[in-house]
Each structure stands twice: as C-alpha cells, then as structure tokens.
Amino acid sequence: MEFFNNHKSLFIATAALFLILTFFVAIMPALNNQKDNAPLPNAVPLSAAAQKGKALYIANGCVACHTQQVRNIDMDKMFGSRPSVSADYADIKRQDIWRNTATLMGTERTGPDLINVGNRQPSQDWNLVHLYNPRTVVSESIMPAYPWLFILKEYPTMDDVVVAVPEEFLKDKSKKVVATEDALNLVAYLQSLKQTEMPTGTNFPEFLYKRNVKSAAVASSGGEGPSKVIAADGVALYATNCQACHQQNGKGLPGAFPSLAGSKVVLDENPEIFVDIIMNGYNARANEGFGPMPAVGTMANLTADEITAIMNHEKTSWGNDAKTVTVEEIQKLIDKVKK
C-alpha cells in the first residue's frame, strides 16, 4: 500500500494512534482523578517529623518490598479494616520540582503492607530496635538493617533515646545505641501510617473474594456476639498480633517487652485485667523500662473468639499452665472493659 511506503504517513498514523490511546488510558483518567479527589475529612496531615521520615522512606527504597494499599479483596484484610480508596492518596503531592509524587502503593510484598502499620505496631521502642536490626525481634526477617540511623554513645544524655538492643547484636558492648533524628523521624512516619476512619454513613468498597462462608458470617456479625462458627487458631493469631514483641518463645525482650511466660497477668484466675490490657493497652511498667503496649485487640478488630484463642494459647504455652477461658466469659469481659 502506498500509505505504508511513505514514512511520514506511516509514522504519523502510528504516533497518532498511540497518543489517542495514551490520552484515554493514562492522561485523561489521571487528570480526572486529580480534579475530583479530596482527602477524607478525618485525615490527619503528616507532621513535620513524619514528612522528614517519609523522605527517608523514599530515599531508602522501602517501597521495593512494602506496599501501602489494602486491596478490596478478603486476603488483604490482615493489613487494614477497609479497602483503600482514592481519597486516601488525595493529599499526596509532588515532593519538589525535582522529584515526583510518591503514593508508595508499591507492586511487591516481600515484607508486609504498611498502610495501617501505625495502628498495628505503634510502639516506638519496637520500631527503633527493629530498624537497628530486624533480626533482634523477628529472627526470620530478611529486612535490611539500618544501623546508619543510629549512633553509639558511651554516655547518653537525658534527651537521648536509647534503644534496647540485645547484647548479641552489639559489636561494642560498652556503648549504648542512640536513635538519631532520622531514626525518630522515620518511626514518626511509620506511626503516622493509619487508615483514616470513613465519615459515618459513607459506604466503603466491600472486600471481594471472601475466603469461605464461615469467615463471611463473622465479618457480617462485625465481631458482635459470640461466634462459635470458627475455632480460631491461637498460635497463628499470636504470631500475627503478638509475636513481634513478645516473641515466639513468650519471653519478650529484656528491657523492652515483658515476658508472658510466668506472667502474673497471664496466669491470673480472673482474666479481667488480661482482657483489659488486650483491648485497651497498658503502660504500668514503664518504670521497669518496658514500652507501652498498644490496644491490640481493638486496633486489629479481634473477635471474642480470636481473643479467647490467643489468651488460651498464652495461658498454656512456654511452661504456663493456667485454667483456660471460654468465649462467653471473654465476650462479657470485652463488653465490660469497652471504653
């Protein structure tokens, strides 16, 4: 055909087709999204420290392994209470003239999703020691260590944030590990990563591809009322919600996270304080050097059934031999301690 033998017509046609398609699948949707989008009313803007922390998060390429999106499928529920929506990213702008916007949604989950990690793991102590070397608290972790965010000091001052690094991870045992401004900013950013509550009355997208009928039933009951449908797996739930601090062997980390083996609270016949701590957090042992415990049960939306499973696992493991509790009993206590 003559048309194809003329380089001008051939390549202009080629370019035109590509440009038209580009407009419809990239430029137009992107502009549309930019125009018709606003942050959720409850959204909290990043603090100055968190802003700096985010810059570090970007500079060190954390997005290579950590996504920041909860997809609207059931399996992503472990990372957030609702699927992410466009408005969650509305407030993210270009970093500066040189560098592009960073939504940090990511395409690879070598490590866990972080969009709600501020709720899941709010402890500064844990985050700092984990950044210094992730293997201090999660021995199987393959995450890089970030020792350059810390300095070693023989005599830390009162203002210094000293990190409780276990001895075997220290080269020079006479010195203390002190978090730099960078480390504190990065942790501030991680702590700020919380899914914003939807304004009351708005519908958010449903989770699709429910695992099975049973979990669907639990989801619809929203954790209200005892559910006998599932026998929750205490070991797995402990691993997901508690193990990062209290460790697989229940012994915690000296100077940072208390041991559950032989713990008075865990072994107590009356489980009320135990439930209260899980649902509302705890900070009564700060004078012993232990960090505050977040309200894990409330943040992770654990059901009475799941909390019972975790409690019974803790009551009967690592040499603990206490009386187990029932779902009904725990449900009553949850309602009682609810704030």
């Binding site: 194809f4 033998n5 380089h7 390549f11 080629t14 370019a15 590509f18 440009l19 398609l21 580009t22 699948v25 990239a26 949707p29 992107a30 502009l31 930019q34 989008n37 970007i58 500079a59 390429g61 954390c62 997005v63 290579a64 392994c65 999106q69 997809r71 399996m75 992503d76 472990m78 699927p83 992410s84 929506v85 466009s86 969650d88 990213y89 509305a90 702008k93 040189w98 560098r99 592009n100 916007t101 960073a102 939504t103 940090l104 949604m105 990511g106 395409t107 690879e108 490590g111 999660v138 199987e140 972790s141 393959i142 995450m143 890089p144 970030y146 350059w148 699709l208 979990s215 691993a239």
Partner: protein, 698 residues
Amino acid sequence: MISNTFQLAISSLWINGFIVVLSVIIIIVLLFAISVLLNMREIRGDTDKMGFKSDEERFKHYIDTLNSKQIEEFRKVRKKETSFAPTSKKDVVSGLTIAILCLISHFSYGQNEGVDSETVMSSGGVIITLILIAIPIIVGILLLAGRVKKYINNISDRNKHIEARKLADYIKSLPEDEIEETIERRQAAVNYQLSQKELSGDQPVADTKGLIAENPDTSLPFVAVKKKATKRPSVDPKLAKLVLWFAATATFWLIFGTSVGEYVGIKFVAPDIDQTSWLSFGRLRPVHTNSVFWGWASLGMLGLGYYSVPRVGNNVLFSYKLGWITLVLINATVLFGTIALMAGINNGGGEFREYIWPVMLPFAAALILTLYNFLKTIATRKTKEIYISNWYMVAALIFAIVITLVAYLPFWQTGLGETIVQGYYMHQGVGMWFMMFTLGIVYYYLPQQLNQPIYSYSLGILAYWTQILFYTLIGSHHFVFSSIPWWLQTVAIVGSVGMVIPVVAGTTNFVMTFKGAWHKITDSYTLPFFIVGIVFYFTGSMQGTAEAFRETNLYWHFTDFTVAHSHLTMYGIITFFIWAGMYVIIPRLTGKEPPQITVGAHFWMALIGLMFYSVPLMIGGTLRGLSWMEGKPFLDSVIMMAPHWLWRAIGGSLMWLSHLVFAYNLYKMWDSKPALDVKDLAIQKLDKDLNQQTEKAF
C-alpha cells in the same frame, strides 16, 4: 483405622513386590528357553538341512566360501604336501534337546520362591528380605543357564569336528589340478578391490569452486563445528566502530547491572551481608533494574538498530555524529542515575521511574536524536518500501519519547494520578520500547541468519497494529484491586487478553520463517539464541496475559511470581534476542569469530540459569500467594520462601557467570590478536618485496 489402611497398603505392597520378583524370574527363564529353542533350530538346520542334495555339493560349497586367511593357511598346508589335512573351523553345528530338561528344572526353582507365607508380611523388612532372597535365586538360574549353554556348545563342537574330518577327507580325494583351480578362482574373487579411481579418473584433484573447508584440528571435536559468519559486503568502518561501542558499553552495563542483581539476590539469603546505606537493598534494587534496562538493553538494541536501519533501506546512516552523541548521553544517564540512587536520590519509587527527571533528560534527548537520525536515514532510502523492521524500531522510539514525557513532565500527577501514570509508564516501557524495538531486531536479523525472507509480511503488519492497540491499554493491570478506577482495571485486563493476537501472529511469523531451514540450527551459533527468544516471546507474553486476570491476581500479585515473569521476558526474550543480534553482526564488523566453546558455555549457562532462577520463584510465589489467601501469619510465608530464594541466587549466579563469558566473547570478536598464519605472512612478505622492487625501479 489409620493403622489398618497402613497395613493394607503394606500388604498390597508386599504382594506387588512378590509379583514383580516372580515375573522377573519367569521372564529370565522364558528368554533363556527361547534362546535355546532358536539355537536348536540352528542346530537342526545342520549338515543335512543346509539344502544340499549330496555331501559333495556341500563340501564344494565350503571350498567356494573360503576366506583369504583360510586360503593362505590352505596353501601352507599344501606346500607341506604330505602333511595333515587342513583343520578348517567352519561353522558346522548340530544340537541336542537337553533344553527341555532344564526348562523343567527352572520352573521348579521358580516355585521355591513362594516360601514366605502371607502371615509375615506387614513390614518393609519382609519386602527387603524377599528381594535379598530373590537375588541369589536369580543368580543361580543364570549360572545354571550358563552351564546348559556350555554343554550344548560342546556337543555342537564335537559335531563340527566330525564334519571337518569328512571335509578333509573329501579334499584329499580330489584331483590336484581341480582343487588348485578352485582355490585360485576363489582367491582372485576374495582379493578383488576397486581401484578407487573409477569415478574420478586419473586427473589430479582440484577444488575449483572453493567448496572444501579444511578443519586443521583432527582430534575429536569437543564442541560441534558451527558455520562461520558469511562474508558480507564490507561495512563502513565508521558504522562498525559506532555499533561496536554500543555493544561494548551495553555489555559493561550488563555486567555491572547483573552483578548488582546477583548481590541483591544474595541479600534475600544473607540479609546482614553488609549494613552500608549505599548498598542497602532498597537502594540497590532500582540500580539493578535501571542499569539493565537503560544501560544494557537500550544500548544493545540501539546498537543493532544503527546497523540495520540504514542497511534495510540500502542506504547509509544519516549522521554518525548524532549516533555518538546518543551513545554518550545514554551512558551518562545510567552513570548519574546509579550514583543518585545509591546516594538516596530517587523519583518517588515507581518501578523503572526511579531516576529523577534531570537524570532521565539526556536519555530522552538521546531518543529524540536517534529518532531524527533514523527518520532522516529512512527518508533517503534507496528502496521503495520501508522494511518492517524499521516500522518497529522507529515506532518504538516514538513511543519511548511519548511515555518518557508523559511520565516525567514535572507539573502534574498528584495522588492517584501518579499511580495511573506509573502503570502506564512501566508497562509501556517494557512493551512499547523494549519489546517493540526488539521485534524490529528479529524482523531483520532472523531472516538474515536463515537466509530466507520473513514468512509473512502481512502477519508482521497485523502484529504491529494490534500490538499498539492492545499493549497501550494494559498498564493498569499492575494495580488490579487497587483504588484506581475499576473500569481502567477492566480495560487493562481486556487489553491483556487482546495481546494474544500480536503475540500469536509474531510467534507464528518467526517460527514459520524457519520453515525448511530447521536443519540450520544445528550448525549455527546464533540461531539457538533466536529460538530461545521466540519460545520465551510466546510463553512469557502469554504468562503475562494469564497474570492479568482478577482471579490470578489473588495469588500471584505482590509475590515473586512477578519477579520471575519479568526475568522470563526481559531476559528470556529481550536479552537473548540482543545476544543473537550481536553474535550475528559483530563477526561481520570485525571479521573475527568468537570461540565456539565459550559461545556454547554462554548460551547454556544463561538458559539453565534462567530456568533455575525463575521456576523456583514461580513455585514459591504461588505458594506464598496461597498462604496469604488462607490468612496464615505473614512471617510463615517469609520462612516458606527461604529455599526458593536460595535457588534464585544459584540460578542468578549461573546467569551472571554467563555474562562474564559473553564479555570475553565480545573481546575475542573485537580485539583479539589472531594466531599468526604462515600463508598470510608469506603474502605480506611478497607484497613487501614487490614494494621494495618498485621503489628501486624508480
């Protein structure tokens, strides 16, 4: 209950074992019986059943079939005159019917087998015992069979002696002349030989058409001898130099980029191998991907393009200078980009968009210069048509410029706008730059190597337009189930399915181009690279379609399956095709061949390495996705991946080694000093002498 089924299983195992042993014995016995029976027939067909009417006729036959050694022996004997009759050891056989006897005895052995009863059977020990018992029994049977065979042979030997005696007597009884004549006739017949000159005649041999290539190495070949690059019209040295420099810098980035990749892969197995900020995983990963993308693949492709774009228009390149500027600009981008990434300066983390725009600017400029250069070259082409390889290459340049501008213009993309553009950019980068340009490479270099035209021009054109139509749509399939618009995700999935059309059209076209030339693969060192590229073009691209569905996104997205896929495609397709092209062209530019053994090593290490790399990651990735779907703790899936990551590091090491070998091959093709050749030297000396003579004459 459980132990019951277990016992059942064990007993059925035992019965099976028993049947196996028994049938092995029966088979041995049967085989032996058959061999004896066959032997018997041979024995039967002895003296009286060889089809001769009389003894005399038979003896004459013996004499007529003497071989030369026998004749010699016979002559010796005749010389002694009065001596003994010759003892010819001709096959004269007879037999006996003892076989039946032993058959019976064998079967009785077979029955001894059943000594063990079914009462002691519920353990593996019994099976082992059974096998242990069966071994001596089988050996016994074999020994007995050997004995019987020996006995049969003895009998048949005795018969042969009798027959031989008769033959000797017969020979003695014959008149002297008659036997002499017979023997002589036979000797002449046995010794007859062709002169070896029946066809060639007595003329001296000369290879007037230069058909014969002599292989100086007469030892056993360790690698098969492949065809050398055919001599082509010589290439403009200016172009040759440009293409070589593209290839050399590309190879540098290949080695650099994959060394980083290898190191990053090792970090999955040994995360504390170093704790330096500049070498931490998050910073090095984009260094790896970007240097193999913009450094290796882009420079490699462009180098091949600079050769073929003018060539298919029977033309010369519009400007070499622009070519050199392109080379420098792209290398500058990768160099500064690498330093920036390691220092922690990046664009915000979108894959393949980690270089900031000031760093990417020289790359974009290089593409624009190349486009201008190519278009100018095509505009002054000597052919009427624009050959299809140029369609693909020029289109790829146009697309790459467009996507770079769309992605990098620094005044838009707030919030999810960034993600929508990111999906578009990263996939168009792969599909409309690398794949599109590489298809252009294949359309030129593959037919060139096969020395026959591309199978169908129309299929190529169909693939061209459908590639543009469908590929442009599919970027968002990297964000299925994310918060970008649902309709955009659906369009991307539909587009991914549509990709079947260009991929099948392209693959068909390439495979059919091989029609009638498949035999050329065995004696070419470039075609295997093309074959691998074509196979992965089909499988890798189709895998991409499979990964785009919502259902498969559940278990494959976010896992290492994607990593395996990107290596199957960027390495299996793009890199193998670039290697193929380089092995085609560089020997033609320099006149030097790479050593075949290292080309083979390069090919096989790269291919096997790729398989070791990608298969474990695909398996591990799938398992990981399934683990997430079951809601298991995240850490479980990390622990589960450990062996798969180890295999990836092993496969990666093989790939990396193959790149070192490739670099060596490139060196051998480019700058190696060839061994001195006496003939070449002689010609040079003659030339020198002649020059001196002419100088004297003046």
